[in-house]
Point group: C2
Chain length 406, copies 2
């Protein structure tokens, strides 16, 4: 008998998703120590209420749905113009980046976009990722058959090009020596908390254009940039011809449970003569029906004068946590990176401890949960990620415990 | 120079999406006749405000997001248990279908689920679709390389198995003679408005099990069933071993712009020993971050006693429109099908008019927009779809115009 067949690439995916493994170890510890209060600086989830301007916009949009004359049915697949126009103006044009509303696609999350964008590319593209890296880039390409097979000994997929980011490279990838077709860059970086400057980013744009490659630029943490550095890849000349950008309301406005994001695909971005903007529009029209009207109204409020003040304050709150963590770690004798233009701190373990050994000792000695660097890729071994998304008081408490324990 | 390459299957997609073509013709007509009031009974979009119980739940959930102690960040990829448990109990267990909460995955739309489910299957499965059919099933498989190439002369994809649904088959597909791996069934049917009975559905389940095939059962219009017919495929013995079911809040509770749906993948559904439930969980965890908390609370309210009364009234309102359309068409001498267990009416054009010819004459003579049957597949030629989702007054006005014009 002939049978239906599954996508064989799923069977190649190793073990459990990083954060699931962290969650399990944490749950086991809590079960064994019901008296101890565990503090998580692990997952990148926000903890503050939504800004008041967003709340008011959500309420007003709920009211719209209660009356026939303001009720909204199916919206545009690509998102409402009221939101796309604000984004184009406030996030791009105002920074000198030439992006128009019809180059913006509203979505339910940067993770969805990063995962789904592969739909419009063939399976034989050569994919380059930073090492360490946000696991979604790797896993979604593995599912699509672009990663080859997982080599357990090397802890790498056979077909991916890994770009090591270490102390020696200032945690910024170097331009690959081999040809690459699709290149994932994330700045401010998750997990390392580092940032790229404009001249270095220009080199990537030039490389991509000379190779006929496409850069997937994940700028989900853009709001955390405090120094004079590019917020968008489209601030770089030539990027409109080679880059897709991903953004999110998760980390600037606390939307992790509210779900709104967007990607930018310029009209001038073509691959073999095909417009990626048109292909993505076709993909979204066929497989997606847009983000809830209510939620898009909430996102729109982020761009109001009040919304800008409130989201700025929210980001400042988390950046203050980042400073507390970074300063505390330095005092405790750790090398610590990031945390200045990003909500992530990337610390080097002491005495050659592995990432998971440090995870265990941090949990045992301080009751603090973080994320092992090796979970983000082999070059993350010996490093550890802490996030600034807790409350200020628990963050201070966590750092106090770490300082005492180590 | 080697270049990034696009998914070649996108280039195979013919012309524009059906509803885009309808929208363009309608816009052209309106521009040429600015004085005429055009009534659309075309796209399947709802027009009534959300039920009051849903509005209240949405308001309360917005309030939750405004306070630190009730704020929600990332939710479960598969949806909140508060909603999954209600669905399992109210939509399944209460009808004798043995489905548990952990077999339910909350999503942003049945269209997304129908499109994305292909991710977990290989490209070489043989796909069977009804003819006529909801275009999303065809287009998403074409994008994934399962449809072959489009044969313009036959108006069919070379690798798809088409199951004709005509007057002769009572608009129900017959079991294919060839082997199929993935079979899309939609009942109540879009576009034909017809329903399947339990003994006939049992034959499909038996066929799928004997062939090692998987049925994708789209039950998005389940709430419109008025006769004693199965609401879920899991009311049929053996379906837990061969079927995935798609449901939505779009048409029972007016969520087309609010976006919430779900799919059901039983634990006992395995393909070559692999659990589709586990594969889908992995897919969702990697490419999706769940539906907004606020929206899931709104969907939960559909299952409250008040919500059930309100959604029942909403469905009754649209079913009354369906009766108005069907009765009016019969009076005007049209053969009309559907509309009893579905919000769609499927009419036969008179005098051998083609579907698009009827579209044009309906628009010209009556100022009414519908959807040409041929847009849903070659066996839809000579048929036409009208939807019951308008207001009662515009529906009556549309039927008055049709009766006078034809």
């Amino acid at each position: 008998m002939v049978l239906a067949s599954i996508n064989p690439n799923f069977a190649l995916l190793p073990g459990s998703y990083l954060f699931a493994a962290v969650a399990k170890k944490t749950a086991d510890y809590k079960a064994a120590h019901p008296d101890k209060k565990v503090i998580s600086l692990g997952i990148g989830d926000v903890t503050r209420p939504l800004p008041q301007s967003v709340i008011e916009a959500l309420r007003s949009a709920v009211d719209d749905m209660a009356h026939e004359d303001t009720f909204r049915g199916y919206g545009p697949y690509e998102g409402y113009d009221f939101l796309r126009e604000k984004i184009a103006q406030e996030d791009y044009v105002s920074r000198g980046a030439n992006i128009s509303a019809d180059e913006i696609f509203i979505s339910d999350g940067a993770k969805s976009d990063c995962g789904n964008i592969g739909d419009i590319f063939s399976a034989d593209n050569v994919v380059a990722v930073c090492d360490p890296v946000y696991p979604v880039y790797v896993d979604t390409n593995a599912m699509a058959g672009r990663a080859g097979v997982y080599d357990n000994a090397r802890e790498k997929w056979t077909k991916l090009v890994y770009m090591p980011c270490t102390r020696e490279t200032n945690f910024i990838p170097e331009i690959p020596k081999e040809h690459c077709d699709l290149i994932y860059l994330c700045f401010p970086n998750n997990p390392m908390g580092t940032m790229i400057d404009a001249p270095t980013l220009k080199k990537w744009v030039d490389y991509a254009r000379s190779e006929g490659a496409v850069i997937f630029y994940d700028a989900a943490y853009e709001a955390y940039i405090t120094e004079d550095l590019p917020h968008s890849i489209y601030e770089i000349e030539g990027a409109r011809e080679c880059a897709v950008e991903f953004r999110s309301f998760s980390k600037n406005a606390g939307f992790t449970g509210t779900r709104c994001a967007f990607c930018v695909i310029p009209h001038s971005l073509k691959v073999n003569g095909s417009s990626l903007n048109e292909m993505w529009m076709r993909r979204q029209a066929t497989k997606f029906n847009g983000v809830p009207y209510i939620i898009q109204r909430g996102a729109e409020a982020v761009y109001s004068p009040q919304g800008r003040l409130e989201t700025k304050a929210l980001v400042a709150y988390f950046l203050n946590n980042a400073k507390i963590i970074r300063d505390g770690l330095s005092e405790a004798g750790f090398e610590a990176y990031g945390g200045v233009n990003a909500p992530y701190i990337w610390l080097k373990t002491k005495g050659g401890q592995s990432s998971w050994e440090f995870f265990d000792s941090l949990l045992e000695k301080a009751g603090v949960v973080g994320t092992p660097g090796s979970g983000f890729g082999p070059s993350g071994e010996g490093y550890f990620r802490l996030t600034a998304f807790g409350s200020e008081s628990t963050t201070r408490e966590a750092i106090k415990r770490i300082t005492e324990a180590f």
